[in-house]
Amino acid sequence: MTPATTGFDIDTWATTALERAARRDEPAWAIAQRRAASGNARALGFPGREQELWRRIDFRTLEQAFSSLDPFRESPPTRNLDDLPPALLERLGSEAGRIGLVVQRNTGVVIEQTAPELERQGVIVCSLERALVRHADKLRDRLGALIAPDYDGYAALGAALRSGGAFVYVPDGVEAAVPIRLFHWLDGTGQLAAPRSVIVLGKNARATIVEEEMSDAAEDIAFHLGGTEVFLGDDAKLVYGTLQEWGGHVYHYSNQRAQIGRGAELQWIQTILGGRMVKTNSYFDLVGPGGQAFVHGFMFGDGRQQFHLHTLQRHLSDHCTSDLLIKGCLKDRARSVYQGLIQVAEGAQRTDAYQANRNLVLSDTARADSIPGLEILANDVRCTHGATIGNVDPEQMYYLMARGLPRNDAQRLIVEGFFAPVIDRIPLEGIREHLRQVIQRKIG
């Protein structure tokens, strides 16, 4: 990974990352993982345009600026919540102290709080760094288990440079008493943050977890290279929100993976609103009979934003259900690519899988690509997908305007209505309200 155009060198970075990991007493296996990952990153290089998942998004501007990035930027000293950026505090609202909370600022975690109720239940909420020292046994078989170490050059680089991330563990049979929120914040430009988080729900455990990504606004490039691995034990249930709202300078690439056990249920809400160029791969594996996954997501791009969302619904066991709905709205010169795939493995009979992608294009300079796919290797299944791309229905506009609403208000109402079914599924009212405001602001 040393393109001639940049002075960046993977080996220097990897060596520094290894030294720092050793200083923090990371277990030997985790250090070995970093070492192997840097080998993979070197061998794989930046993904080429010939790769199907990289044909429709172009990270070259970022790649050329790589030498200006700093993967080791320290977080500012943080004694308590008051030292956090105001925008983050505002989002947190009055909930601080009553929820489980992990805040990552730049490359490291600065706040870790477990609510007393959670502590009594044996729920662990902490930084991944701390967990690697204190709960290594719970991470050993999980960290890196779902994101393949050689998935692509970026994933490998992220594993080599891993900086920060959170660890959440809910023991068997426990229903986490309060929600858990994980924040990622980036200050200014020139950063490269590579957090890796692990979320584990034991058998019959329950939890609500919301992960939020925010930053201030800046001119130059910053890069978030994240990864999250979620494990649901048999009959567990997780409501999981991942809300991305970077400033317009942030390049974002993340790999999200979930493994869903027998009879377990994942409700996953994703929003993609911020960032300059955004690429997210959200995969889940249904590995035990009767597992269920419901994914609801939306993206809203304006300006020159580019979003690429790839989802993979992998049915590896029988009698599982998955239902995925991704809505996209685009204005100005924004561009979105949705690339989805349902895979049904041999023997995964009685699968019921659904995948829908609906796109609303508000300007003639915006562009939406939709590529839903099915690969089915079992016969006793019901697999359906649908995709639509269109503009605001003129009849709906006419209806509203005939009732005296100005064009802009009418359009805003229609777009809000388009997103409402997804927003309604977000578990915390404060966040729902915030998202409505973001949408209003974007419609302008």
Binding site: S363, A368, S370, I371, L374, E375, R382, C383, H385
Partner: protein, 470 residues
């Protein structure tokens, strides 16, 4: 559905019905393999003008430079140097069946071509290996100025018209196999329908591979002038050999303002044929292009007929059936490209996989900048008949305009137990019930076929359903 092995299928009866072969008795056969010499030899044998010879040689260079596609079915087993690129069966093209050599005539008799010509068709072309051996069109159409010739004769007899359009829709740089075809093309049809002429009864071409390790590279060019209409039907079969044959055609169609063209394919190659075909049409103002594409045979098929809608009011339609049995991979589909405002398109795809076969839809809906008020709907349904088979759907939608209506829907399922139960409770046995359900599944496309093909298609489906339930 039963978990027992359904062993009777369409392909079993293939050997008996289509899988026979004649003794090889070509008048000329190029040596195996492909190089400049072979390409020049083909051109010399045909006595072509220099521009075509140069075109072929240039295309060969492009073919050699282009990498094999990295997506789709595995084509790595094709050995380009083991193939005979040109096998000339007779010295002359005949206008009467009586003049066709006895062996070949027997073959086409067995396939029912002369009979069909009398009953259903306006004109027939029959290609045997590399060359068209028989060509005939009704006199009254000839008088109206309709041209229906082999592509080679088209070049010879109407060079100006031929040159104006040849390679303009699918340039040799389009893809590796289009380049290959451009280098070694032989046979195929050249059709011109003059302004306002409606050819009410279909024109048909029949393609037969006889020689082992043979590559067939027919080239078809159809020009439908303003307000005219034609329905062109092609069928293809080959003997069942243990080694693989290659069929790589290029079909270019120009549908002028207000005209309509329908192109129907019943592809029933034997299971040892790689069928890698590039088909593309351009439709101008208020013109309609329809592809009806039935893929039953071959080992691997990669074929995505496309319609470029160039001017307002153009309409494109693709109806595709893919059936994949044992050892078959049908990677079928279609592409519609909206290049002008107020254009519309529709794709319906039905695929069936059985006995470990893999059938799929791969398609593209593209709306270019400025193509406002375009409408497109895509419907893909797949039926998987047993647990060893596979179905894939890969639709691509690339939309660069906001005032458009684009929809895509796909479902994959098995034969419903409830449907079976319903029919069985009315006294229909299970096997017949399953066949009825499959017939119903493909009915929206079969009903678009000419009568005799619809009957044939239903018969084929019934045949292959035998023994599959129980």
């Amino acid at each position: 559905m039963s978990t027992e092995t359904p062993n009777l299928d369409l392909r079993d009866s293939y050997t008996e019905k289509y899988g026979f072969h004649d003794a090889e008795q070509s008048v000329f056969k190029s040596r195996r393999g492909l190089d400049r010499e072979i390409v020049a030899q083909i051109s010399d044998m045909k006595g072509e003008p220099a521009w075509m010879r140069d075109y072929r040689l240039k295309a060969l260079e492009i073919f050699e430079k282009k990498p094999m596609p990295t997506w789709g079915p595995d084509l790595s087993t094709i050995d380009f140097q083991n193939i005979y690129y040109y096998v000339k069966p007779t010295s002359e093209e005949s206008k009467s069946w009586d003049d066709v050599p006895a062996d070949m005539k027997r073959t086409f008799d067995k396939l029912g071509i002369p009979e069909a010509e009398q009953k259903f068709l306006s004109g027939v072309g029959a290609q045997y290996d590399s060359e068209v051996v028989y060509h005939k069109i009704q006199e009254k159409l000839e008088k109206l100025g309709v041209l229906f010739l082999s592509c080679d004769h088209g070049l010879k007899e109407h060079e100006a018209l031929f040159k104006q359009y040849f390679g303009t829709i699918i340039p040799s740089t389009d893809n590796k196999f289009a380049a290959l075809n451009s280098a070694v093309w032989s046979g195929g049809s050249f059709i011109y329908i003059p302004k306002g002429v409606h050819v009410d009864v279909p024109l048909q071409a029949y393609f037969r591979i006889n020689t082992k390790d043979m590559g067939q590279f027919e080239r078809t060019l159809i020009i439908v002038d303003e307000g005219a209409f034609v329905h062109y039907v092609e069928g293809c079969t080959a003997p069942t050999y243990s080694s693989d044959s290659l069929h790589s055609a290029v079909v270019e169609i120009i549908v002028k303002p207000g005209a309509r063209c329908r192109y129907t394919t019943i592809q029933n190659w034997s299971n040892n044929v790689y069928n890698l075909v590039t088909k593309r049409a351009v439709a101008y103002r208020d013109a309609t292009m329809e592809w009806v594409d039935g893929n039953l045979g071959s080992k691997i098929t990669q074929k995505y007929p496309s319609v470029y809608m160039m001017e307002p009011g153009a309409h494109g339609e693709i109806l595709s059936i893919a059936f994949a049995g044992k050892g078959q991979h049908q990677d079928a589909g279609g592409k519609v490209i909206h290049c002008a405002p107020n254009t519309s398109s529709k794709i319906i795809s039905k695929s069936i996989s059985k006995d470990g076969g893999r059938a799929g839809y791969r398609g593209l809906v593209k709306v270019q900048k400025g193509a406002v008020d375009s409408r497109s709907t895509v419907n893909c349904d797949a039926l998987i008949l047993d647990e060893r088979s596979r179905s894939d759907t890969y639709p691509y939608m690339e939309i660069e305009e906001d005032r458009v209506t684009i929809g895509h829907e796909a479902t994959v399922s098995k034969i419903g137990d409830e449907q079976l139960f319903y029919l069985q409770s009315r006294g229909i046995d299970k096997e017949e019930a399953a066949a009825m359900i499959v017939s119903g599944f493909i009915e929206p496309i079969v009903k678009e076929l000419p009568m005799e093909y619809a009957v044939e298609m239903n018969r084929l489906i019934q045949l292959q359903m035998e023994g599959s339930v129980g």
